[in-house]
Every structure is written in structure tokens, then in C-alpha cells.
Symmetry: C2
Subunit: 238 residues, 2 copies
């Protein structure tokens, strides 16, 4: 069976967390909007009134006759199938808990450049973005990164992974968050990286995993860009 991933064709966005898991798992998948079907195909599926389990928004994953939405939920599903999460219930839920905390952080990242409305241009909410980003950099980034540093330090199996002694989708997601923050907030990240060395080391370790390294070097990895979740505006990163 080949998975079908449905996500916007020109951004990493939330779909990237799913792409990283599929790549690390060496799973067969089609990135539908970027290949055969285009975004129209994704929009048509979203609008299909005949679905018993309609997704609210991309990303969503077609797995056989199942259609699964919500990034963290897709990862829960893939983690179980592709050994990217512990087998035991407690470890599975702990991995998922970390993913949900990363999802909260990602929402906050998005709202630094869109604090008023996703439907408005950045330029139309620039003043508010400056205020929101200032608090984000001063308070929220240290809180979240400090938390993940603490989780790594508290892992009974050692600080090489967030959960247990093997890679999970939560590690891949934390890698992506660090990579995105380095692009969007290079100044803030230079400071925070010194305070959270275990998080930085995890980022480097994931980037060096053979399948992830091959993916990052391929054309399948879209470059960060200014229409994406992580955006670099120098005025938000003093």
C-alpha cells in the first residue's frame, strides 16, 4: 500500500512533520498536491460531501480506505505502524503528549506573523505582529525550549532522544521546530541554542540520520519560504 499525503504544494508547514516521519520510515508515499493531482485534487477531496470522516484542513493522509487528519493524529497512526513510537501504551501516549506540546508551540510561531487573522496579509497586521513576536521571543521560546531541554535531561534512557533509547516522531518534530526557528528567528535562536545544548544536539543528530539527511538534500524537501509557517521578518527578531 502506498500512502497519499495531502498538503499544500509550496510550503513545509504542518505537512512537513508528516513528511519527516514518512521519510524516516522509508514508507512509500505520494505527495499528492506536488505530483499527480495538484492542489485542486486536495481541495476537491476536502469539499467532498460524501466523506464519513471529513478532515477539517490539510494535512491529511490516505491510508488504504482510511482518511486521517490532524498532524499529531497522523503521527500517532504512523508511529504505531512504522516503529516511530514505543509499543507500550504509556510510552505511546508520552510521545503523543510531546507532539501535542510541539503543536501548541507551532501555533504560537504562526501567530507571531499572523496575530489578527490568517486571512489577512502580514503587512496588514505588522504592528500587532511586532508586539506578539516580542513576547514570543522573550517569554514563550525560552519556556518551550527550556521544557524540551528538561525532557531530554530527564529521559531515563539518556538525552539522545526525547522518549526511550530510540528515535520517535517526536524527535523528528523537535528537529523540524529547531530548523524552522533557525530560519525564522536566527538571533533569538543563537541565544537560546547556548542555553539548550541538548535540544541543539538532538537537532544535529536527527539531521545526520541517513534517511533524513538524504531527504533534506533532495528536491522533496521544500526550502523554507515567506509563505510558510516559519517566516523570517528581521523586524520580529531583533
Amino acid at each position: 500500500m502506498r500512502y497519499e499525503l495531502y498538503y499544500w504544494a509550496s510550503i513545509q508547514g504542518r505537512g512537513e512533520f508528516v513528511r519527516l516521519a514518512l521519510e524516516e520510515a522509508a514508507a512509500a508515499y505520494v505527495d499528492v498536491a506536488r505530483t499527480k493531482g495538484g492542489e485542486e485534487c486536495m481541495q476537491a477531496l476536502l469539499a467532498n460531501e460524501g466523506l464519513a470522516c471529513p478532515p477539517f484542513a490539510p494535512p491529511f493522509l490516505k491510508a488504504g480506505n482510511r482518511l486521517i487528519g490532524q498532524t499529531a493524529n497522523i503521527l500517532f497512526f504512523l508511529g504505531e505502524r512504522h516503529d516511530l513510537a514505543p509499543k507500550r501504551d504509556a510510552g505511546r501516549l508520552w510521545t503523543h503528549q510531546l507532539q501535542l506540546t510541539l503543536a501548541d508551540f507551532i501555533d504560537e510561531v504562526h501567530d507571531t506573523h499572523h496575530p489578527i487573522a490568517s486571512s489577512l496579509y502580514y503587512e496588514d497586521q505588522r504592528r500587532e505582529a511586532k508586539r506578539r513576536a516580542a513576547d514570543f521571543v522573550a517569554s514563550r521560546v525560552p519556556k518551550f525550549f527550556g521544557y524540551f531541554e528538561r525532557v531530554l535531561a530527564s529521559n531515563p534512557s539518556g538525552p539522545a532522544h526525547l522518549v526511550g533509547a530510540r528515535v520517535t516522531y517526536a524527535d523528528l518534530s523537535l528537529f523540524q521546530v529547531v530548523a524552522g526557528m533557525q530560519y525564522a528567528f536566527p538571533n533569538a535562536m543563537a541565544r537560546i541554542a547556548r542555553q539548550t545544548p541538548k535540544v541543539s544536539a538532538l537537532h544535529a543528530r536527527v539531521a545526520a540520520r541517513p534517511r533524513i539527511a538524504a531527504y533534506l538534500a533532495s528536491t522533496r524537501r521544500l526550502p523554507f519560504n515567506q509563505q510558510d509557517l516559519f517566516r523570517h521578518y528581521a523586524e520580529l527578531d531583533r
Copy 2:
């Protein structure tokens, strides 16, 4: 075993989604910050550096020797244990997917009154709140409520529940979202209720469930208030 729920003592907030599930399940639980321990007890646990699986923020649930954080994750756990979610994997993930979509909506509700920073007073971000709430009411509320109306209409088992033919924690959570919105945005909700009759009917049906009705009439149910997630500011609900 008696569960221990850790959440702020004076608000419904995100903890309320867990309270509703525990109440519907008739599970034995202590609402720690409201009873024996106070919020200090919760803060102490949050700050405990010895935890292998530290939660990021309340709510979190102690179940035997497990400590489980993130609202949707706690509900996933309780749903399985207390028959508040389907037994089969596909139904369990679909219920969770709906919960995660409700969680996204709740984040947006919060940000209508705190678009800049949680750490600032409403009064210090009132101008931005007006802009954000206007978009929320005009675009986001219809989109989310329209989605849940569609999910109810698409349920092969009928529109009485979001998933299958029995109550799940997603139904309880949608009830809470409607209740909160009726408090916070009564004008917007009067309009939207007419357009989403199945959602309104679900809200009424959940409120009438014997255990939920008993809970809502008890002192265990905190009243909505202006420090909570759902807040009523007339200027945001024209």
C-alpha cells in the same frame, strides 16, 4: 484507583473537558487544586525536576503511577478506559481527530481576548482583541461550526453523535464549546445556532444526560467567569 486531576481551581478552562469525561464515566477522581492540595500542590508537581514525564502545563491527570498531560491526550486515555470512544482503531483515531480540531478552535477562542500575550491583561491588548474577534466571529466561528454540523450530518449512524451511535468524549467537548460560546459570544451564537441545528441539538442532548445534568447542577461545575478561557466582552460580540 482514584484519579487525581490537576488544574486551576477557579476556572473551567481546558480542564473542563477532562472533568466532563470523568463525570460522564462516573470515575472516582479528586480535583486536587480545588480540594486537598490547592494550586500550590499542582505548581510543586509541575516544578518537580525528578519527573521522567513532566507535563508542560495543566491540565494533567495522575492515574496510578502515570502522569498524563495535554487535554486531548488525557481524553484519549480516558476514552479507552471508560468506553467514551470506539474500541476499534479507526474510530478511536477519528474521535481523537475531532477532539484535536476542537482544541484548535479553543486556542482561537482564547486568542480573541489575548491576541498579543497571555501574560498581559486584556485591557493592554484591547485594540488588537477587537480586530481579532471581528475576524473570529465573521470567518472562524462559521467555519468550525459548519464543519461540526457537517460531521454530524455525515455520521453513518445518524446525527445524534459525532462518532458512531454512542456518546464519546468528542460529544462532551463539543457540548462544552457550545456552552462556552453561548457565554462568551451570545450574539454571534444566536446567529450561528440557527445555521447549525444539529450542533445545537447535540448540545441540548449532552446537557440532558443524567450524569452531566447532575454535574452541571452541582458545585463541582464552576461558573463561567472573566478569568476563564471563554470570556464575555460585549465589545467583541457586536
